[in-house]
């Protein structure tokens, strides 16, 4: 088994809800509540869940772009949460992120060579001439001709902008890259180009990915292991193959069954979930999924199920499997 590169332990992130003239805190959005998992070196860990389940907040708190409320993030043996600003800045060189929207994540007033070189400049790594030489190499790596480095973001299409975002993330030779819905905004034909590019780069630079997506087909294709989140909690973690063939949690089952498959002969039983995802400001008691679960029992509304190892490497937070 590969080395563990990043360990997230009991990570919690609550956002205050403020009201009134004095901005008094009247409640908390429980965006991420007690989340623990680890990422091994060189793997792609898929993080999947519906909007509002806390996927993005998890990634942002790991990078401390949002300050975690509680918990530990151990990266390379050190706790990122306890780091001082200057140390954190140094450590961020190893942890990069690619955002969802290639339109809002690139500064429209900067040339793309400066966007990509910004990290190198901040960390004072290379002299001017070498810096731009490196930018040129990076651009070629992601499939954009180096002579375009003096252009501005608006001169590129969505797919090309996402390539620029990838080049920016690669510039500091990070160990881990968080891909936050990195291919969701792209058209079908462009999406496969970017997915293949991410896979090639991973092989070449031995990168580790935390790949966040809501699209299970993409997750199934790109991940080695998968974490499923629902309303701020992890409900299931397993090896990709195990997760899709031996799905345990009723939420994961419903999620997989809801994905439309582009094959008219593919028959499957569809589990239609009732109702909407409840608000993370006021989550249900016990298991957070119990009001929508088809296999709900009495205990589910009373006691919150713990994430336990039901089979080797297969974790599930559900009372159906905890009793045995």
């Amino acid at each position: 088994m590969a080395n563990s590169l990043l360990q997230v332990k009991n990570l919690v992130k609550f956002f205050p809800i403020k009201k009134g003239v004095f901005r008094k805190t009247v409640g908390w959005i429980q965006a991420v509540d007690d989340v623990s998992f680890e990422i091994y070196e060189g793997e792609t860990l898929g993080l999947v869940g519906e909007s509002g389940c806390g996927k993005t907040t998890t990634a942002l708190t790991i990078l401390r772009l949002e300050e975690p409320t509680k918990g530990q993030v151990i990266f390379d043996g050190r706790d990122v949460v306890k780091m001082k600003k200057a140390d954190l800045r140094k450590e961020r060189k190893n942890m990069q992120i690619i955002f969802q929207d290639p339109y809002s994540s690139l500064d429209p007033r900067m040339k793309i060579k400066d966007i990509i070189a910004e990290g190198i400049l901040t960390h004072n790594l290379l002299k001017v001439r070498e810096r731009y030489k490196r930018v040129g190499e990076l651009l070629e790596k992601v499939g954009i001709p180096a002579e375009n480095m003096d252009s501005f973001p608006h001169e590129f299409s969505g797919g090309q902008r996402q390539r620029i975002g990838i080049a920016r993330a690669l510039a500091l030779e990070p160990k881990i890259i968080m891909c936050d819905e990195a291919v969701s905004a792209l058209d079908v034909s462009i999406r496969s180009q970017i997915i293949n590019l991410l896979k090639d780069l991973q092989k070449e630079f031995n990168l580790t990915y935390l790949f966040i997506a809501h699209d299970l087909s993409v997750i199934k294709y790109i991940s080695d292991r998968v974490v499923v989140m629902y309303l701020g909690k992890i409900v299931e973690i397993a090896d990709k193959k195990e997760l899709f063939t031996n799905t345990m949690h009723p939420y994961t089952q419903a999620l997989i069954s809801a994905v439309p498959v582009p094959n008219p002969d593919y028959k499957k039983e569809r589990i239609i979930l009732k109702g909407d995802v409840p608000s993370p400001a006021n989550p249900p008691t016990g298991c957070r999924f119990h009001p929508r679960c088809s296999k709900v029992m009495k205990i589910c509304s009373e006691i919150e199920p713990k994430l336990t190892e039901a089979k080797e490497g297969h974790f599930c937070a559900c009372h159906l499997y905890n009793e045995k």
Binding site: E50, S51, S157, V188, N196, L216, P260, Y266, G275
Partner: protein, 338 residues
């Protein structure tokens, strides 16, 4: 499809262009298809291929600089493009309804949901306000919105995304239209909510044998609900056939490329195929076949002459010079496990 079925809508060589300062954008440039009573036609394509503009042109919802410059839209035997604005008002919402992608921008934020639904009822059925509101509550109940009486008095921002889309469906279905156009109705929704909404839409349509034009980029959704499919690229229909044919025997290189470039749950894929390049700029379309710069089968002929939509067999039309080459490729088995 058998001829017994009633032809409801026929689009012939539809052309809608946008006259912008930079030049003429031929967003829709020769679209043909038919919709029969009770069937679902899927229109598939990537952003900018003209799917939405086609839908808007059918209902004549486009304003300057967009203009339908040619073709026919024959609905129940009459050309909608020749109707007066007054006649169109009687058709929109009553006979042909539309559901938009973004329910938040399609709904008016300062009016209650109940009022917005009752508007169309009052106009088309000439009924009073009270009766219309009562009917809206019934409709909200029909689309399975909990506590419909209260919800009718709420504003769009008070509803969740899925609920808003349900309200949009209630609005579209309020006058029992015979044809529903759905423009990416579930793209903004989560998969579990998408499953709910598709289920509901199909159940309601079946109830009165209505037809549906489903516009989407999601081949999975199409595989589930469509009967026939039109694949669009750069303002034109490039392939048109029934669902099984499109998925098992595609004849256009673009269709084939789409099918092999998507990650999917039903087959293990080693590496995704790639359609190289990007969708061309509509101001500067390539000459000849518009797909030729991205096509791996392209020959010199493709660069010079534009192919027309040719009938290969009954009910299967393709716009390509190299159908034989694609057939060979498909025969080799383009997907393992299908």
């Amino acid at each position: 499809m058998e001829n017994k079925e009633k032809l409801l809508l026929e689009i012939k060589d539809l052309k809608t262009h946008f006259f912008t300062e930079d030049g003429v954008v031929k967003a829709v440039d020769g679209v043909d298809f038919e919709v029969y009573q009770g069937e679902t036609l899927g229109i598939v394509g990537e952003s900018g291929c003209g799917k939405s503009v086609t839908a808007f042109s059918i209902l004549r919802l486009l304003d300057y600089p967009g203009k339908t410059v040619g073709g026919e839209v024959i609905f129940k035997g009459e050309n909608l493009l020749k109707k007066t604005e007054d006649e169109m008002r009687g058709i929109r919402g009553k006979e042909i309804a539309i559901i938009f992608q973004e329910p938040m921008t399609a709904l008016n934020p300062v009016l209650t949901v109940g009022f917005q639904i009752s508007e169309a009822l009052m106009m088309h059925f000439k009924i009073g306000k009270k009766e219309a509101i009562n009917k809206s509550v019934e409709l909200l109940k029909k689309v399975e919105i909990p506590m419909p009486e209260e919800r009718a008095n709420e504003y769009p921002h008070q509803l969740s995304g899925g609920m808003r889309q349900r309200a949009m469906i209630a609005m579209a279905m309020s006058c029992d239209p015979i044809l529903l156009i759905a423009d990416e109705p579930t793209t903004a929704l989560d998969v579990t909510i998408q499953a709910q909404i598709l289920d509901l839409m199909m159940a309601l349509l079946r109830e009165f044998n209505g037809s549906l034009i489903m516009i989407t980029h999601d081949l999975g959704v199409i595989a589930e609900i469509a009967d026939r499919i039109a694949i669009m690229y750069a303002g034109k229909v490039v392939e048109y056939a029934d669902k099984k044919t499109i998925f098992h025997n595609p004849l256009h290189p673009y269709t084939l490329g789409l099918l092999t470039s998507i990650p999917r749950l039903d087959v293990e894929m080693k590496r995704l195929d790639v359609i190289p390049g990007i969708v061309p700029n509509p101001l500067h379309f390539p000459s000849g076949c518009k797909f030729n710069p991205r096509c791996r089968f392209a020959t010199d002929r493709c660069k010079k002459e534009e192919p027309s939509l040719i009938k290969i067999e009954e009910g299967h039309l393709v716009r390509c010079w190299n159908v034989d080459k694609v057939v060979k490729e498909v025969k080799k088995g383009f997907l393992v496990g299908v």
